[in-house]
């Protein structure tokens, strides 16, 4: 009688076994990778064209975020300051500094400084700064304590589940509206009560509808 199975099938269990192992490794690797900050770019810290220090300006000197990010309360984008904002002070302070050469070059030539975006959402996600900042979500909640960063880096995953965590349970992330730019604000003892009142007063109802961010 002819052999029903060809000879190579002898090694079939081995192949199957190998396949199972590889698949298992693949699954573990994917979970490990896609769940990790590498995938969500936490820690992304690109080199900027100007060695601007948030630590110095926002931290040591205590500039308010809104001095530079002027539109954060009225537009979807916080907006980066025009070169003019830098020159307001640096015409007089450190006018010869080597580090500030690109700023002066921009001011003289009229060519804008091309900053590198740190917090980069996908094009199909429409985040609105004004809606959050005016509702009492602090800058620090998404951007971390920028006042301690020499070079800005991404500290939160900015993934959809991370957004939804807060939209489903906003209370821990709320603060009085006048404190949104305060990097060192910490919740008081009665934060739960404050958050409850705040939500009621401001009529906050963070949506989890797809259409709120995707359109």
């Amino acid at each position: 009688m002819a052999q029903f199975f060809p000879k190579w099938t002898n090694r079939l269990p081995l192949y199957v076994g190998l396949g199972v192992v590889l698949t298992a490794v693949g699954v573990v690797a994917s979970v490990w990778y896609f769940g990790s900050p590498w995938y969500t770019d936490v820690g992304y810290q690109p080199v900027q064209p100007v060695a601007y220090s948030h630590k110095l300006h926002a931290g040591d000197l205590g500039l308010d975020c809104r001095y530079c990010h002027t539109n954060v309360e009225r537009s979807a984008v916080a907006s980066l300051p025009p070169t003019q904002t830098c020159m307001n002070c640096h015409k007089f302070i450190l006018p010869e500094s080597e580090k500030l050469a690109p700023v002066r070059a921009s001011w003289e030539s009229g060519q804008p400084i091309e900053w590198v975006r740190v917090h980069n959402l996908p094009d199909y996600a429409y985040f609105d700064h004004s809606a959050h900042v005016t509702a009492g979500v602090g800058c620090v909640s998404c951007h971390g304590n920028v006042a301690r960063m020499e070079v800005v880096r991404q500290v939160e995953p900015l993934s959809m589940s991370w957004c939804l965590d807060c939209h489903r349970n906003p209370e821990p992330h709320l603060r009085p509206v006048e404190e949104v730019t305060n990097m060192t604000w910490s919740p008081r003892q009665d934060h739960d009560q404050f958050a409850k009142d705040h939500i009621e007063k401001m009529k906050l109802s963070p949506s989890t509808d797809c259409s709120r961010c995707h359109r």
């Binding site: 992304y44 690109p46 537009s75 003019q84 001011w107 590198v116 609105d128 259409s211």
Partner: protein, 988 residues
């Protein structure tokens, strides 16, 4: 069937083929492979490309895309990045102008809407206006000054002009000619006067292929002061009976927005007891206006004049004071109907109005002006002075052409237009240009004319330059730029100013000078800022309007256009008409307009000779058959298309196609029908012969059978009488058992609940909403081949149905977009939950989840979902990308999309009111289609608020929902169409 159903669903059909087949004929997959031969890929090329793109994808995914943020160096005070601004400007269109509000994102215009303060746009915008933004960004505009085929510069041209100027100053302009388009601009008017003063012996000719020349001439015939230009301004909202004589006043003619708004305000009945105006349409073509008719009579073009005469005589017989007019010999079989119509008009005397088509002869317009003066009077028809506008003058073309061909013209400056393409064939302008040494053409594109001229000067788009305009009622409006000229282009104003002043001034200065000249008193700067903000200023009218002279009727009626001629059946008549898409050819390179299905034929990307079903039978023709049309020794070959309800022995030839130098979109699309048009028969001719060639076009893209809804009662209409007897007829048309849901239904009683109502009685089928939606939502253009396969991407389509016998069919239009069903069938079949409901009742589409199974589209009973079969947006040129709305995701291949109820506008309105500490009010959220609808047929808002406009409209008894028997609970509902036929005519 239950006795409750009083009004039977009428038999509607979309195409003659579908009517014959008794159902659907469109097969979206024409051959087994599903793609045509010219894009078949070999296995090798497929693998090569796949391999390459895999490699690229692999590489690309390793790197996080590095994005740049580029702030200003010095921030402009008024710009907040992320928040768009609107600027008031004006779109000039021949000697008409339409006020616009242009949305700009960080200095980049993205959307055009009507200016509510402007009398000719009333906040609405036509399809042409909406689409003109695409012309601004047209990559084929790129390029600078060209001199004899070599790139040059504006400064070089200025230097060249200076040498010519010396010569012409010395000889007072002998040999200098300007060929301009009609305009309504006070600045151009002022410059023209200065030009005539500076060069008294120069020639100024005015040419536009489609213009109101005959209307103006007609009014002169009927006036005491025949030397003046007058125009009439209509208030159709006050009219009770309207007779349109070959007049497409709802769409094809100037001021169509105000006309449509006025007409529709007399149609939007809230209850069965409301009064409704009545529209009689007598026409040769089947137009959009004909679709709204209560009575429609189709006549050959040569019978239009005799018909009007018969009507005038009948009106006089019934007591209308028309002076002494000659007798008429009746109008054969229609005499009885004319008598009934005249009775209706007489009964409504004081609020009855007759409208005549632009293309009819001056005598017809003269007669109509006289009739209107006694039948309507002010304020329904108001005569105003033409003022600072200019009118095309075809009669002067002959002497102009003679001058040129005899070599008297040494230098010709052509201000805009495209005379090489659109001049009458007998003028042969291309040959004429060879007799002129210096020819200069300022134009948006290097078009057919520019190719034949020594100099091409790129013209600035109206969104890039300063100018001004006077509206039909003399309101002054400013044209202010919303962006710097993209290609360093100059405006006509700047060129003309250079010619009259010898100095190179900016258009800003020139227009301000005009405004100073017009403003006799007051604070100039303050008024100027005001006009920049509002877009308009109501200046003193230029004296009282002239009066018509009733004694002119007799001499007018003696003209031969009113004589009835007996013609042989083989003697075809032809009408040249501007296309609904490309107009006279100026919009040929506009993808949005090319892809816009014609509201009557539903053809996209083509024109055709339109004939009636009977004529088609006589000549044994079917749609797409190519025929030879011959007229006075000239001939063209063109495919035919059959239009039910068109007059027999009549061929309608849409102009504006067959351009050879339009650009990448519009070149060689359709057939150039100007080749048959001659000076003695500009709009209409008899003696056309048609012969079948035996060849045919099978690749014509026609959407009329796409998305068929299988004979269900989709369009519902009744006559006013029937409506009075059965006010609930629309809802009662469909009988169904009590509806129960398979699912536990969501609760939509909280918060904002969005809904829309569309009044079919106000919808005229003008397509403005389709282009507005395309502009607002970044909808790609897919091209003829894809449209042919039913893959057009328009989120909002306007369905066109016929009903009745093909010869006398009546047309109905119905806009259909996503109905936002509460029990959405699409959501139930999506395997990845890419389409889900939000709490406010929107059926949302989550692009980033969609994997492209297309189950949803298959399960949608309304066929409103659109699939990206290709990456249509990938190859959009960089300039055109600037037209896209940054608030809406640009979709890629393999993704489903559909109407979102303009969710980005809802979000923005919600945020803006929240930042202002307020609550959304009714009217804060306006969808793009609703915003631009000339007739206000579309209402959108919160249906949870019983006082919102949309809630009120939805409660009207004409309301019904499409396929409500499926229990899908659509959020969009319709109001049934009501026609108001004359009971006396119904009986006869």
């Amino acid at each position: 069937m239950s006795d409750k159903i009083k009004i039977e669903q009428q038999q509607y059909w979309r195409s003659l083929e579908a009517r014959a087949a008794g159902g659907e004929v469109f097969d979206p997959v024409p051959d087994s492979a599903g793609h045509s031969s010219d894009n078949s890929w070999s296995r090798r090329s497929f693998l090569t490309l796949m391999g390459a793109s895999m490699a690229m994808a692999g590489l690309a995914s390793c790197r996080r895309p590095k994005e740049r943020i580029i702030p200003y160096v010095q921030a402009p005070e008024e710009i907040v990045p992320g928040n768009p601004k609107q600027y008031a400007t004006t779109m000039p269109f021949g000697n008409r102008s339409y006020g616009a509000l242009v949305t700009t994102h960080e200095g980049r215009p993205t959307k055009i809407e009507g200016n509510p303060l402007h009398p000719s746009s009333l906040g609405a915008a036509s399809a042409y206006m909406q689409a003109s933004i695409l012309d601004l960004y047209d990559p084929d505009r790129a390029g600078g000054v060209v001199h004899d085929g070599v790139d040059a510069s504006w400064d070089y041209f200025v230097a060249h002009w200076k040498t010519l100027e010396e010569k012409f100053l010395a000889n007072e302009g002998e040999g200098l000619a300007v060929l301009a388009e009609p305009f309504a601009s006070p600045t151009l008017f002022r410059l023209k006067r200065e030009f005539e003063k500076r060069f008294p012996r120069a020639t100024w000719a005015t040419w536009e292929p489609v213009s109101d020349e005959n209307v103006v001439k007609g009014r002169k015939l009927a006036s005491y002061t025949p030397s003046e230009d007058h125009r009439q301004v209509y208030r159709l909202d006050l009219a009770k009976v309207i007779v349109a004589v070959d007049s497409d006043f709802l769409l094809g003619e100037p001021e169509s927005i105000t006309m449509a708004r006025g007409f529709a305000s007399g149609r939007k009945v809230a209850t069965e007891n409301d009064e409704m105006n009545r529209l009689y349409v007598v026409e040769s073509a089947h137009t959009v206006t004909g679709a709204s008719a209560d009575h429609r009579l189709r006549l050959k073009p040569s019978e239009i004049g005799p018909f009007l005469k018969a009507l005038a005589v009948e009106l006089k017989k019934q007591g209308l004071n028309l002076g002494d007019i000659p007798e008429s010999h009746g109008f054969g079989e229609h005499s009885q109907s004319i008598a009934v119509m005249a009775r209706d008009l007489m009964a409504a005397q004081g609020s009855a109005v007759i409208l005549a088509g632009l293309h009819l002869s001056p005598e017809v317009h003269g007669l109509v002006a006289l009739l209107n003066d006694v039948m309507a009077g002010e304020p329904i028809v108001r005569w105003v002075r033409g003022g600072s506008s200019s009118v095309a003058d075809t009669s002067a073309l002959g002497s102009f052409a003679a001058d040129v061909s005899e070599g008297h013209i040494d230098t010709m400056v052509i201000l805009s237009g495209n005379p090489v393409f659109d001049m009458p064939a007998d003028v042969d302008f291309k040959r004429l240009l060879k007799n002129t040494r210096n020819t200069m053409h300022v134009s948006l594109h290097r078009n057919e004319t520019a190719q034949e001229c020594n100099w091409y000067l790129p013209k600035a788009h109206y969104l890039e330059s300063w100018s001004d305009a006077r509206a039909a009622d003399s309101t002054y409006s400013v044209i202010q730029p919303t962006i710097e000229p993209l290609h360093g282009a100059k405006s006509e104003v700047e060129l003309l100013s250079l010619m009259v002043s010898g100095t190179d001034k900016s258009s800003h200065e020139i227009v301000r000078d005009t405004f100073k000249w017009m403003m006799s008193s007051g604070d100039f700067e303050k008024s100027w800022q005001r006009v920049l903000h509002d877009g308009i200023v109501r200046l003193e009218p230029e004296g009282p309007g002239p009066r018509p002279n009733p004694n002119a009727a007799k001499s007018i009626l003696e003209n031969r256009v009113f004589a009835r001629q007996v013609t042989e059946a083989s003697n075809l008549e032809v009408i040249f008409t501007p296309s609904y898409s490309t107009y006279d050819g100026r919009f040929a390179n506009n993808g949005w307009l090319q892809e816009l299905p014609d509201p009557v034929t539903k053809l996209a990307w083509d024109n055709a000779a339109l004939i009636s079903p009977t004529t088609a039978n006589e000549f044994d023709l079917v749609n797409g058959d190519i025929v030879t049309l011959a007229l006075k020794g000239r001939s063209i070959e063109i495919p035919i298309w059959i239009v039910p309800g068109q007059a027999d022995q009549t061929v309608i030839l849409p102009l504006g196609y067959g351009r050879t130098q339009a650009g990448r979109v519009g070149s060689n699309v359709g057939v150039n029908t100007y080749e048959l048009r001659t000076t003695d028969a500009m709009h209409f001719a008899t003696g056309l012969s048609m012969t079948k060639t035996g060849r045919r076009r099978d690749d014509m893209a026609n959407t009329q059978d796409h998305s068929s809804m299988e004979g269900r009662p989709i369009v519902r209409e009744a006559t006013l009488d029937e409506y009075k007897k059965h006010p609930e007829f629309a809802r009662e048309m469909v009988e169904h058992p009590p509806l129960t849901s398979l699912w536990e239904e969501h609760d939509y009683s909280e918060g904002y609940q969005w809904g829309m109502a569309i009044d079919l009685n106000a919808c005229i089928g003008c397509n403005a909403c389709v282009v507005a939606c395309q502009s607002e939502n970044n909808i790609p253009v897919v091209g003829r081949e894809q449209v042919q396969k039913g893959r057009e991407m328009h989120w909002l389509r306007v369905d066109r149905y016929f009903n009745g016998e093909p010869e006398n069919a009546l047309m109905v239009h119905q806009p259909v977009a996503c109905q936002h069903c509460e029990n959405a069938p699409c959501e139930q079949v999506c395997p990845v939950a890419a389409t889900v409901h939000d709490k406010e009742g929107l059926n949302t589409m989550v692009y980033n989840r969609c994997i492209g199974t297309r189950y949803c589209a298959n399960n949608c009973p309304y066929k409103v979902r659109r699939f990206n079969f290709f990456n249509f947006t990938k190859d959009i040129p960089e300039t055109t990308q600037m037209a896209q709305n940054p608030d809406v995701t640009v979709r890629s291949r393999g993704v489903m999309e559909k109407c979102t109820y303009c969710t980005q506008r809802i979000n923005r309105a919600r945020r803006d009111t929240k930042l202002a500490g307020a609550k959304l009010n009714d009217g804060d959220v306006v969808t793009a289609c609703q915003q631009t609808c000339p007739t206000g047929a579309i209402v959108f808002g919160d249906i949870n608020d019983p006082n919102s406009e949309v809630s009120k409209v939805k409660k009207r008894n004409r309301g019904y929902e499409l396929l409500s028997e499926l229990n899908v609970k659509p959020r969009t509902s319709f109001l049934a169409k009501i026609r108001n036929p004359n009971p006396e005519l119904e009986e006869s």
